[in-house]
Amino acid sequence: MYAYDQYDQAMVDARVAEFRDQCERRLAGKLSEDQFKPLRLMNGLYLQLHAYMLRVAIPYGTLNGGQMRVLADIAEKYDRGYGHFTTRQNIQYNWIKLEDAADILADLAKVEMHAIQTSGNCIRNISSDHFAGAAADEVADPRPYAELLRQWSSFHPEFSYLPRKFKICVIASENDRAAMRLHDIGIRIVERDGELGAQFYVGGGMGRTPMIAPLIRDFVPLDQLVTYSEACLRVYNRYGRRDNKYKARIKILVHELGAEEYTRQVEEEFAHLLDQGVEPPLAELERIKGYFRDPDMPDAGQEADRSDPDFAVWLDHNTHAHKMPGYVSAIVSLKPVGGIPGDATAAQMRVLADLAERYSFDELRIMHTQNVVLPHVRKADLYALWQALNEAGMGTPNADLMGDIIACPGLDYCSLANARSIPIAQRISQRFAANGKEAALGELKLKISGCINACGHHHAGHIGILGVDRKGTENYQLLLGGSEAEDTSLAKITGPGFDELGIVDAVETAADVYLRERTEGERFLDTYRRIGMAPFKEALYD
């Protein structure tokens, strides 16, 4: 994985000093909250319901054991012993004091981590495929391109006061595991006639106006990646709406101009920028690629021993095909039955650090589904790994099943939320563990948001739940038919909402319709697409 050189380190250290100074000026009363807010946000510091919240960047979701250990230390030293992994592959801490914020950033900088641009109207942490560099189905490891763009977007002088936040995702497979087309810019590395290049999808997103990004360029040569990105951003910075916060994302600009006109403007700007020398040389991309070479993975030639039936279940659900024979990627569930999706204690983080060092070439990945991946595990080591995960409460065999719920922090933590998300996730995972239907249902992606901002990706759930405020009480709308995979689609609302207990029953009712109607080999989503909304509505409301 990438390692800082003297330049990267100096930049992060300077940022810590800058933020320390800004915090001191705020605490001394020299900065108003209005002036301070954009500055603290660009260092990941929010003010949430109960305290300040710090979001730490995990670039493209990749980190090593030493970094995970520092995340554990921070949880204990400055927070309350745990952290929350997010749908953007980051971690956030819920109980931070402003007085400690700069010290935390300094601790992070010692292990080449930071919170730069994890909030604010700027280019955010760049996300990627959690199986990058390990998956059998990709044309290249997408992370070097993400790292190139990470550096380009860090402290970008022109694009730090955009109309709204800006999220970029880079993948390199036809199979989309990162919700690529639901980003402001989704980049897919592709191969054409033996050459690698980048497809650019621009103007996707969730939030109150969900949109699937259209393809605006089918092939950007690798030595024009930065320039093309710069053109996309400049058109947005100049013409994105600033009159209405809710219409300020690039998806609205692309939608209002039309993809064709937006593309025309980008191409014009791109033609101009090509002469401006903004593109790093290919040697820089090669330098970065050097950090992402495959570890030496000799084929151990052994299959996992499936004689323990519980282990066999975990193997079937929580491992993913690796490009090297004898290896798999293992999914560590942070979704124990009845647990808080994405939360991990400091002790669990240390276990993950140890396991990464012992079994996965010192690498970990954070998934957008709020789980963790050990990307390169020898099949022969899987049984020992599984036992260790079970001991730490992270061996639940539920990847992509009903219990693997994405949930935003909701009204328990978030100042924007209208309803609680976590208790709904807890009840649903308990219900389906108790009634035994989880296994029968197979792949079923349930996603819960506590408000219309859609941090819990409810638009993209096979089943989505949206919490709303109905006259001061929590109410939950049910949505069906979304997907954030390569067959991206947006879920539709079934009808009137439900209360806290009613929504759990409603999810079970929808699941039962699927179990009744499905044909051989169909997932929930496939059945929904075939039979449509009507049978579900009938079961839910008649």
């Binding site: 954009p38 002088p157 022109e158 100049r238 040389p281």
Partner: protein, 143 residues
Amino acid sequence: MTEQVPLRLREDEACMEPAVTLEAFGGQTNAVAVRIEPGEDTRELLPHLDRLRRIDIAFPAFTDGRGYSAARILREAGFTGELRAVGDVLVDQIAYMRRCGFDAFDPDASLDPDDVEAALNRFPQVYQSAADARTPIWSLRHQ
């Protein structure tokens, strides 16, 4: 708006002519200073840059970042006159403004010169090529 320019990072003598609006500039061909508002297209000025001595770019609110693009576009087109950031210009944004080509600042609330100095020197290097002369890190790595 003050008469004095509180902060200039250029050696030449300040052009103190009043700036005309972009609209007025269209009909008033002898103006040497013009003021660009956030919603206006800076590129309308490009055919006339050789006779402009100063361009003011307005920041009604520091959170409105359109002026950064406007400044860079002018520098990319070869404008060498004074580029002045006017309005809600705060010390925490000034380094980015400098990188986009601004070399004069006329803030609503005066800036402490020491704070400005510190802000401009905060980051030892830069990651991108922009409108200033700084060499990006990617270039330093491959010299």
